[in-house]
């Protein structure tokens, strides 16, 4: 099966500083990422702030300029594809953002917001669009009269439903969701998580979900990629990743997730230090200063992402083998 959306050796840098005479410095946010999303698959990208996961999502959508590598959609390089094909891709790949208060234009009605992708892509007539909006509202569990109201009249969870309806409007194949739960209350998160699962089952969507919430990822995803300082350090099926993480960083992240009912915390065993500055990454493996199992080799040689066993790849000189 060929990938629907794929990053090939994708790099993104942002200029910082610079002025009239000084050239700006380039900060690498995504460094040589290879990642493929299959049709109908739910792939999650996890990592902490500064790992480049949001930038990766935006680069896949063409929202930030790419500084190296390619984004491939349905076998075509997006950099060289004709404008009509790019417009078709934008219809097929939709995005849901983190902040349901920022992602809806406060001046438009909910109906106008949901119909906007249809207008941009020239789908349907005014009447069919209105019918489609009503249908979509029902699909995400909102009443049909919501279409006439404005975003500020809805709660966070309801707004995230509106954002989902907008993403679903042009009948896409892929939804890229950037932290779709993290701005919501705990009791609302599970409602949206269930909705995402249900929609996928009904419509056969592929998801690329960006999240730092490992428990939500475990619930939703088929495969998981872990990112650290702009690079993918591990890719695996969700069960393998959560039961037998191969990269020490993945293992550290999993260990750091607070668990209910495990009793009061016993200090110790946490990942030390902070994520390093992308302007001055450590030599060799960028994770080695925080890694308990680092050797002299880790400080010199950059580990490449290489297959470990079926459907699983890791960028580590000394991958872990046991279960957690």
């Amino acid at each position: 099966m060929s990938a629907l959306l794929e990053a090939r050796d994708l790099s993104v840098s942002f200029p910082v500083g610079g002025g009239w005479l000084q050239p700006a410095r380039q900060v690498p946010a995504v460094r040589g990422v290879n990642l493929a999303l299959q049709a109908g698959e739910a792939l999650a990208v996890v990592g902490e702030s500064g790992s480049g996961k949001t930038t990766l999502a935006r680069a896949l959508l063409g929202l930030v300029p790419v500084s190296g590598g390619q984004v491939i959609f349905a076998g075509q390089d997006t950099a060289t594809m004709p404008a009509s094909a790019r417009q078709a891709m934008r219809r097929q790949v939709q995005m849901v953002f983190q902040d349901p208060f920022g992602s809806l234009d406060p001046r438009l009605t909910v109906g106008g917001i949901i119909a906007e992708p249809l207008e941009i892509h020239g789908l349907g007539t005014t009447a069919t669009r209105r019918a489609r909006v009503a249908e979509l509202l029902g699909l995400v569990g909102l009443p049909a009269d919501a279409a006439a109201r404005y975003p500020h009249q809805f709660s966070g969870g309801q707004r995230q439903r509106i954002a989902l309806a907008r993403a679903l409007a042009p009948a896409p194949q892929v939804i890229i969701a950037d932290e779709p739960l993290s701005a919501l209350d705990v009791s609302i998160q599970s409602q949206i998580l269930n909705l995402l699962v249900e929609l996928r089952a009904r419509i056969g969507l592929a998801y690329l979900m960006i999240s730092h919430d490992l428990a939500a990822v475990h619930h939703l995803a088929d495969r998981v990629a872990t990112m650290y300082l702009g690079a993918v350090v591990e890719v695996a099926g969700v069960e393998e990743m959560f039961t037998r993480p191969a990269h020490p960083y993945t293992a550290g992240l999993l260990a750091a997730v607070p668990r209910l009912g495990a009793g009061k915390r016993v200090p110790g065993g946490t990942l030390p230090g902070d994520i390093p500055s992308p302007l001055a990454p450590p030599p060799g493996c960028v994770f080695h200063p925080r890694c308990a199992g680092a050797t002299a080799r880790c400080g010199q040689e950059v580990p490449l992402l290489r297959p470990l066993d079926a459907g699983r790849a890791v960028a580590c000189h000394h991958p872990l083998t046991g279960a957690v």
Partner: protein, 323 residues
């Protein structure tokens, strides 16, 4: 048994001008012994942060308070402003969610810590500066001497929260209030900060009010748990009892709704509906509108916190009180 360090009896807080106020806390009881940790859990608007601000005397104006809130036997609600100010920082300290904005951007972190000692202990500035460096070391900041001269924007998020903690423990307070202290941090840094707080509590013996929307984090930190919903306690008891055998439908729903890393379910149980806006709180049980077990009686009267087991209480008409 000695009197508890902190004791709230029917605490009420109304924000806004008289007549147009919103009751953000509508009657709250809890107590906290020295050296122990009370975890306060709830969703946005449940009143957990206002509880913290009421203890500290930092409620936004205008406001009205009712009931009693005793700290070391003194009712801080009736304490004159100057008396409350002397307690703040010296005997009760607080750390906040956003360590970036909670620190003054134009003052070095060393000065911000030293200021605590100068104000409450009248320590001379040079000596306070030296103690600030020692405090930075105490909270695990490497190269503390140099970091003390740094401004907040030159530090990482985790380090800023360590600075906040150093500031809070500078005068060895009896009570530390931590309001969502790790919400803005990444999981790996969150684990570091939680460890630091536990170590400091073990060494200094201070009591802690640990506020979070994250049940998992609270379960790892708390001895007792207070679950709040719309300005009231719905369940209160020892952490393990509340988490293993929740009695209030809201607590039970909250626990069930969390996806569990160890166990994948096809569909997560959900609490339907939305969090109640305190301006439109219904009469009776505020949770009734979202509760599967609710009946007509639930809308009639506010259920009282009723003991269900030793030290464990729930505010629900459907729970059977302890014999």
């Amino acid at each position: 048994m000695t009197a508890p360090l902190l004791h709230a009896a029917d605490l009420k807080v109304t924000l806004g001008p008289p007549g147009a106020g919103v009751a953000v806390i509508a009657g709250l009881d809890f107590s906290l012994e020295a050296g122990r940790t009370l975890g306060v859990v709830g969703e946005s608007g449940c009143g957990k942060s206002m509880t913290a601000l009421a203890i500290m005397g930092l409620l936004p104006r205008p406001h009205a308070v009712g009931g009693a809130l005793r700290f070391n036997g003194t009712d801080v609600l009736t304490l004159p402003a100057e008396g409350h100010r002397r307690l703040r920082g010296a005997q009760m300290a607080m750390i906040f969610q956003e360590p970036m904005t909670a620190l003054n951007p134009v003052v070095t972190v060393g000065r911000q810590i030293a200021e605590m000692l100068e104000v409450h202990r009248a320590t001379p500035p040079d000596q306070a500066a030296r103690q600030a460096v020692a405090l930075l070391e105490r909270v695990g900041i490497a190269d503390a001497g140099r970091r003390a001269t740094a401004f907040p924007h030159q530090l990482s998020g985790g380090m800023r929260q360590r600075v906040m903690i150093a500031m809070a423990i500078a005068c060895k307070p009896a009570l530390l209030i931590a309001d969502e202290p790790t919400t803005a941090l990444d999981v790996s840094v969150q684990a570091q900060i939680l460890d630091l707080l536990l170590e400091l509590q073990r060494d200094e013996g201070m009591a802690m009010v640990f506020i979070s929307h994250n049940l998992g984090v609270v379960s790892e930190m708390a001895d007792d748990i207070l679950v709040m919903y719309s300005g009231r306690a719905v369940e209160y008891g020892p952490a393990q009892a509340v988490l293993r055998a929740p009695r209030h439908p809201y607590t039970a729903g909250l626990i069930a709704t969390l996806p569990d890393i160890g166990r994948r379910q096809a569909v997560l149980p959900v609490i339907p509906g939305n969090v109640v806006n305190p301006r439109r709180r219904p009469a009776g049980c505020a949770f009734a509108g979202r509760c599967a077990q609710a009946g007509a009686d639930c809308a009639a009267a506010v259920p009282m916190l009723t003991p269900v087991a030793a030290g464990h209480a729930a505010a629900c008409l459907r729970v059977r009180p302890a014999a």
